[in-house]
Amino acid sequence: MSFLTPLFLLGGLAVVGPILYHLIRRTTRERTIFSSLMFLLPSPPRISKRHRLEHILLLILRCAALALLALGFARPFFKQVPLDDPTSTQPKRTVLLIDLSASMRRDGAWPAARERAEAVLRRAGPTDHVAIFTFERQTAPLLSFEDWNRAAPTERVPLALSRLQTISPGWGGTHLGNALIMAAEALAESETKGVDGRPVRAVDGPREIVLVSDLQAGSRLDTLQAYEWPKGVTLLVEAVKAKLPTNAGLQLVADAADAPRGADAVVRVRVTNAPDSKREEFKVGWSRGAAAAEYAGAPIPAYVPPGQSRVFSVPVPKEGATAAQIALTGDDEVFDNTIFVIPPVQQRAGVLWLGADTEDDVKQPLFFLRKVFMDTPRLAVKVVARAANSPVPPTDFAAASVIFVGEPLPPATIAEVRNQVQAGKVAVVVPRNAAAGDTLARLLGADGVRLTDAQPSTYAMLSEIDFRHPLFAPFADPRFSDFTKIHVWRYRKLDPAAVPNARVVAKFDSGDPAVVEVPLGKGRVFVLTSGWQPEDSQLAVSSKFVPLMWSFLEMSGSVAPVVTQYYVGDNVPLPAEAGSTAVKAPDGTSAALATGAAEFAATRQPGIYEFTGAKPQRFAVNLDANESRTAPLDPDELQDLGVPVAKVAAAPTETRENKALLQGLEAENRQKLWRWFIVATLAVLLVESALAGWTARRATLRTEEATI
């Protein structure tokens, strides 16, 4: 017999008490009346052999009661060879959720995580159901319940361990909320497929998610807010820690519209220092290569106290420098110390004006058109004006995205414009008088089109504007939708019914169309029945004019913004220009693009990617900025979101003593011998009470008889 708490056996020493008591007990029942006790002193009690012999049975009972009590408290159990009884414990359904986000690349985090995961797998019983999910931005099953069930019971844990060897942290963000939901859903499923493909009912035992993660503060949990956590699924957090706490991260900040350009251009970066960092002085600068310290030029010092973030302006290297990454030095972790920057490429767009206007005439439309298209960092628009009656060079047509037609054109030019429109460009016809009707009819290919001059008695206003049309969509907000301040003095009447497929986008208050859209091939033709020049209307001096003109440009499709900055895991749309056949990854590998693919999804690591093909295009993929928030997350936040978090289990240390102790604990729990000892104690005490009572009564009777 062994004891779980053998120290309680010392309580058995209490049997000395009754023994002494029996040895020194006095004959208190015999009383002698004496005349006076003034000469007597109490005699000390003395050991009486005769007395001990008389009550030996009582003494034995009392000692036995104390000894049994001490034995009971010592939690006795019989050692036995532990049997592998598969039914002894209730099978458990576990999803092991392993964090593979970039923050797990920190020093010491991944080995610790793998160790925890392996420990969890080794703890799994043969009847348990285990699945392994990995997550970063996306959650993916590494070992499903089906795989687990399909394997032989003895092969399951080795299989899981071998799968575990194949994974390592990636570069993605930590979308913990999504991962938890997916794991909980997997646990909530009632059936899984068994070895032979037949459905196997899920076990009824406890269901838990074991999360092995660094549980960084940058984990995204927002999706959990709208999720009702299934009942009976608990979360056990096996949090791992990096060896070094100091970590600062870099993040690219969007350029301001008025950012200096040219030689004074800067790139703004935000440096975020983790709250548990030990250092606060770092360096930021353009880097040449893989080594972060290879700064191109002098880095700028960055002082960021722990838990704060600061924005620094890093001057763009001079012309000719090839640096495309900004690096930070001074912290312990390097995984988030580099950001890749593709400087925005200024796109070029052309606007062709076909008319007889002179450039300096402030009363002509061209004057205002030139003022509209100012260069921006991302777009440079070149306005080319050509006389309507002279031939227009084909290059002008090729460079133009939008063709404004202000005058009647010769037939050849009209045909060219029509060709361009049908190829996908936008033509805007602004007839200055009814004479342009023929040109319009030819352009649209509708002979019935006639224009007539109209002059309202006072002025006309735009009404019935279709704000759902892309042209007017920027003005859809009620704050910007008031066009009544634009007075129109003159316009040309156009019968839209005469134009096939014509759509009236806006009308005058007289009911005549103001803006008519006519699709033509891949492109479209807009007809503005009133010009913006002061002679026709007040549109040119209105705040609506510039956005409206830019809308024409945008509708041509040639000025779609080219995004060059992405995060790991983002889907990158393929460039509009056909011809991209493959993508060159930062590590030099090249992945062919599938035919007809619209997006490139394999942005698995940060760096500069390049679409190769007819028109190469580079884009930068960076780390999720939240990955730099490496301070540990309080598990109570998960609890607040309704996730029942169980206590963190201590890492089991498989020492021999612990094992023996656990076995003893288990055996004692099963046998529960202490209950029988307590029952025996109570029985002995009952007998003792009865015997003591009987002895006392007998002694009393004897005394009474002696008195009589």
Binding site: T27, T28, I33, F34, S36, L40, P42, R46
Partner: protein
């Protein structure tokens, strides 16, 4: 203790065994048996003629009655002496008998209280026969009964009834009866105190001084049970005080030496006090025949009478 060996005049054949005596139910009969037995034994005694009368002289002082001048002394010494005639009245004797619970102890067939009552009755009867006036005062922690000293028919009977009263009280106050008697009696007389004296005697001396200073003759009889004298008890037990009912565990074998030491010290202190004050002290075991006590009393009285007579003779010699 009164020793039989010291009383050669009392033959053991004439003595009555107390145990046998106590079987007589009537206290008066018991007293009579003792006294009459005593007389019969005494006739064989060489001692005879004694009296309790008393005489004294004192120098004449102005104001004294000239009738009491002793002219014979004046003729011899040429000095005036007043002759105080012998008291014509009989002796006034007061018996102070302890009736506390401690007296209710006895290892024999009778208790100390029985023995003390018999002793008191014996004295009362004896003195009554002589024509002396006998009074009685019983006490425990306070004074219980008091009968003034008288000599008349029926008084002895009353006295016997008072003596037969059962023991009472939860303590013994030795001072209260003495204080009371010294306050009550003015005429000189005999005060006999019968008790076990198992109580503190600190204040007893002061009170006895007051009595002896009043001219009273005081005789003390300390009645004790043989068990108290020897403490020959065998087994340990819870001993309960007869008066206070306090109980303590006593192993006689272990406690005997200390008890005897303290007990003897107590008795010796009492005897020393009596010697100091001229009080006659007798310690009697309740196992002893009562005649011893009576004889010791009379013997002591006779000695005292001789001393007085010698003193008187000396005075007479002077005159």
């Amino acid at each position: 203790m009164i020793a039989a060996a010291s009383n050669p005049t009392l033959s053991s054949a004439a003595l009555i065994d107390p145990q046998a005596l106590m079987t007589i139910r009537s206290l008066e009969l018991r007293a009579r048996a003792v006294v009459e037995g005593f007389w019969s034994g005494l006739h064989r005694s060489p001692y005879h003629g004694f009296s309790v009368e008393f005489t004294e002289y004192r120098q004449y002082s102005t104001g004294d009655d000239p009738r009491y001048l002793d002219w014979r002394v004046f003729a011899r010494s040429d000095r005036y002496f007043i002759k105080k005639y012998e008291d014509e009245t009989n002796l006034r004797c007061h018996l102070l008998v302890d009736q506390s619970r401690s007296m209710d102890y006895g290892t024999r067939a009778y208790t100390k209280a029985h023995y003390a009552a018999t002793l008191a009755a014996t004295f009362a009867y004896f003195l009554h026969l002589q024509g002396d006036a006998i009074g009685l005062l019983t006490f425990d922690e306070e004074v219980r009964d008091y009968l003034p000293a008288r000599h008349r028919p029926g008084h002895l009977r009353q006295l016997m009834l008072a003596l037969e009263a059962p023991t009472r009280g939860r303590g013994t106050d030795l001072n209260a009866p003495i204080e009371r008697i010294s306050a009550l009696i003015r005429k000189r007389g005999l005060v006999m105190m019968i008790s076990d004296f198992l109580a503190p005697i600190d204040r007893l001396e002061r009170n006895l001084v007051a009595v002896t200073a009043g001219g009273h003759e005081v005789v003390i009889f300390q009645v004790l049970d043989p068990a108290e004298l020897e403490f020959a008890l065998d087994k340990p037990a819870l001993f309960e005080d007869a008066e206070s009912q306090r109980t303590i565990y006593i192993d006689p074998a272990a406690a005997r030496a200390a008890y005897l030491k303290k007990f003897k010290a107590h008795c010796e202190a009492l005897a020393a006090m009596c010697r100091k004050l001229g009080v006659t002290y007798h310690q009697i075991s309740s196992g002893q025949p009562l005649e011893f006590a009576l004889f010791a009393f009379l013997q002591q009285r006779m000695k005292r009478g001789r001393q007085v007579r010698r003193a008187r003779g000396a005075i007479g010699g002077v005159s």
